[in-house]
């Protein structure tokens, strides 16, 4: 098992594509060429969409937004090991994974523009809407995966959270329960080195986050979070184990948040320019591109075309989101309960009358 070879207690980290683009042939996963290209195109789309979202926030056209820049591999690599029937239970910084799982760009821009309608994902997209209270989604993932297991399905559930999230009670309680119930859950910790301003070293005295899995009785592995193939390889092993009834795995994706925590944050207050520059040289897109180019799957023209295509799609979908009709009064009431209770109906009707929106009796 990879987690034996890369034991987090020894501080070892799984890497397949080195920073210089060299590939470890022994660990290189055997992936279909089209899948590799599709993954890279999704990373480009994510990068472009992310840049657009930050720009729109700066222009005051959308609200606060948490950038994913630098974490594209960390997000998509694990998700590449999933099938359409598998679940993703995200936190709030998983743009690339969501795009990979089939959440439309329009939905994402709609949500970040301040409309819950964006969370109405298409039928069959097994992704739950983003969760903002840090790590609260971890117990949900354990429950979702338990339900699959109880029905005797081979469906697995992958949940994402950050290094800061590993300090929350939900992380401990969720992983503990998953270990006890042996649920088919893959826990992906995107260790992007900061929880807003708090550096990873002050988040936990553990040498790695991956090693925490050992205490819960299941494997943990630290993976180079800017290396798509390493993340895929670790996740593939975890998914296979989960499907076979062998229980959960914790994957620590060791990466870096190039952007601010959200557009309301100013990361220059707590981290150095030199540190940021060093991580920018480890760009996950650049590394994957070298790999694809060396394999003869990618060239400059494809790069240019993909970026142009991504830009026009992003412009189009973000504009659609901005032009989307805002929620009506009925919309903000009607999903509170399956059937609106009489008292709430009265409140709706009274508010309509008070606001001069008609429909009052």
């Amino acid at each position: 098992m990879l987690s034996d070879e890369f034991n987090p207690l020894d501080g070892k980290m799984l890497q397949v594509i080195g920073a210089d683009g060299t590939v470890c042939k022994r660990l290189e996963p055997n992936l279909d060429d089209d899948l590799l290209k599709r993954a890279y195109r999704t990373m480009i789309l994510s990068r472009v969409a992310d840049e657009k979202a930050v720009k729109l926030q700066r222009q005051g056209r959308i609200g606060a937004y948490p950038p994913s820049r630098g974490q594209e591999a960390s997000q998509i690599g694990p998700a590449m090991a999933l099938g359409p029937e598998d679940w993703v239970i995200p936190g709030f910084r998983e743009l690339t994974a969501l795009l990979w799982k089939g959440v439309p760009l329009l939905n994402l821009f709609l949500y970040w523009s301040g409309n819950e309608e964006g969370n109405a994902y298409p039928e069959g997209v097994r992704v739950t809407p983003g969760v903002i209270p840090v790590s609260d989604q971890i117990p949900h993932a354990v429950g979702v995966s338990y339900a699959s297991k109880l029905r005797g399905e081979t469906v697995v559930t992958m949940t994402y959270f950050g290094d800061g999230g590993s300090s929350e009670g939900s992380f401990h309680e969720g992983l503990n329960l998953a270990g006890v119930l042996k649920t088919p859950t893959i826990f992906v910790c995107q260790n992007n080195q900061y929880a807003i301003s708090l550096p990873r070293a002050k988040q936990t005295a553990s040498k790695t986050i991956a090693q925490k899995a050992i205490a819960y009785g299941f494997p943990g592995i630290m993976v180079d979070g800017n290396d798509v193939l390493a993340l895929y390889a670790a996740a593939k092993e975890a998914v296979d184990r989960a499907r076979a009834g062998e229980g959960p795995t914790l994957i620590e994706s060791y990466t870096y948040r190039i952007g601010d925590h959200t557009t309301s944050d100013d990361a220059t207050r707590y981290r150095s320019q030199s540190e940021l520059q060093e991580w920018e040289t480890k760009d996950p897109l650049a590394r994957f591109r070298v790999y694809l180019t060396n394999k003869g799957l990618w060239d400059d023209i494809m790069e240019k075309t993909s970026i142009e295509e991504a830009r026009s799609r992003v412009d189009e979908e973000s504009q659609k989101a901005l032009d989307h009709s805002p929620p009506q009064l009925d919309d903000v009431f009607k999903y509170t309960y399956k059937t609106m209770p009489p008292g709430l109906l009265n409140q709706l009707s009274a508010l309509k009358k008070d606001l001069g929106l008609g429909g009052a009796d």
Binding site: E116, T128, P133, P139, E173, L177
Partner: protein
């Protein structure tokens, strides 16, 4: 019909619904082999096995959180928290997620779960075992809060709660667990969530209460009737969403209202009921609305509990005050 106490009636409701619907699962601390600290789930583990009657680690937040996940993925979890005072660990999950996932997902996902927990004082318990903080849950849009008063009520309401498509916080009056025995329907039996129950018809004073207060209210009513005052009693039984119409119908008839709850006075459910009476029945009132509640103090340990706990005489005196006004 079989004679049952409330513990037996709730256990029976769970057994009936688990047998009928394979998606119903029970989870919580000591609910399996031990049958629950109050023995409510006794026999379920043997009947339905460890995958549907799940003994969980000591982990209230995760019991609620995992229930939410199960519910989003096709199960109907009934989670047990051993005492309401320990449900605060789970409050974040109930407020931030159970209550909101339907709204957050624009109706794509729902959380048909039940969080069962005993509540209330009057049982000479340790600290944290006597709480009556139902108002914390009742203020949250998206949650339903149900409090049964008798064994039959508990069975019918719990089966409805399990079948309800929205999350239900089901508060079981610890003091009534073994206090009352009554005839309960065998097999499938439901009482709808929402409508209040008129326990007794009367014309002079309306008393509104629920759960553990019902036997106390009934005793006070007997004393008042001996004075010649005719009492109408309403068991609210669903605190949220509240059956305002039944309250108004009664108060407009009697012109006097006494609200009884064992929770502290300020911002309790009684304040909400009184406000609604002011809004909708003010001109029918012959006396100010009375609230008989605990004072705004921490529940005392058993030696001092009698200063806190509502007794029939306090309710009786309130009835006399509204009659004398």
């Amino acid at each position: 019909m079989v004679t049952m106490n409330m513990v037996q009636a709730i256990g029976n409701a769970l057994a009936v619904e688990m047998a009928r619907d394979p998606t119903v699962v029970v989870l919580g601390e000591d609910v399996g082999i031990d049958g629950g600290v109050f023995r409510v789930t006794e026999g379920l583990y043997e009947k339905f096995g460890p995958t549907r009657v799940i003994d969980t680690p000591l982990s209230e937040a995760c019991i609620a959180g995992a229930s939410i996940g199960m519910a989003m993925n096709g199960l109907k979890p009934v989670a047990e928290i051993q005492f309401l005072g320990f449900s605060y660990f789970a409050l974040d999950q109930m407020i931030c997620h159970a209550a909101r996932i339907r709204n957050r997902s624009r109706g794509r996902l729902e959380v048909p779960m039940v969080l069962r927990t005993p509540y209330g004082a009057g049982v000479k318990a340790l600290e944290h075992h006597s709480e009556s903080t139902e108002a914390l849950y009742a203020q949250i849009p998206g949650l339903k809060v149900v409090v049964p008063a008798t064994p039959r009520e508990a069975k019918g309401l719990l089966i409805s709660a399990i079948r309800d498509p929205d999350p239900v916080v089901f508060l079981e009056p610890t003091r009534n667990y073994r206090l009352i025995k009554e005839e309960v329907e065998e097999g499938d039996f439901t009482i709808p969530i929402g409508p209040a129950r008129k326990v007794k018809d009367g014309k002079d004073v309306t008393i509104i209460g629920w759960g553990a207060m019902m036997p106390i209210i009934q005793e006070a009513a007997s004393k008042a009737e001996a004075d010649g005052t005719s009492i109408e009693i309403i068991d609210l039984r669903t605190l949220s969403p509240m059956d305002t119409d039944s309250i108004m119908e009664s108060v407009k008839k009697t012109g006097r209202a006494v609200i009884v709850h064992e929770a502290p006075r300020s911002c309790g459910i009684g304040a909400e009921i009184a406000a609604r009476i002011c809004e909708q029945a003010l001109l029918s009132l012959k006396a100010p609305v009375e609230r008989v509640t605990a004072p705004d103090i921490t529940v005392p340990l058993p030696k001092g509990e009698h200063f806190y706990y509502v007794d029939p005489d306090r309710v009786h005196r309130a009835i006399r005050r509204v009659m004398a006004f």
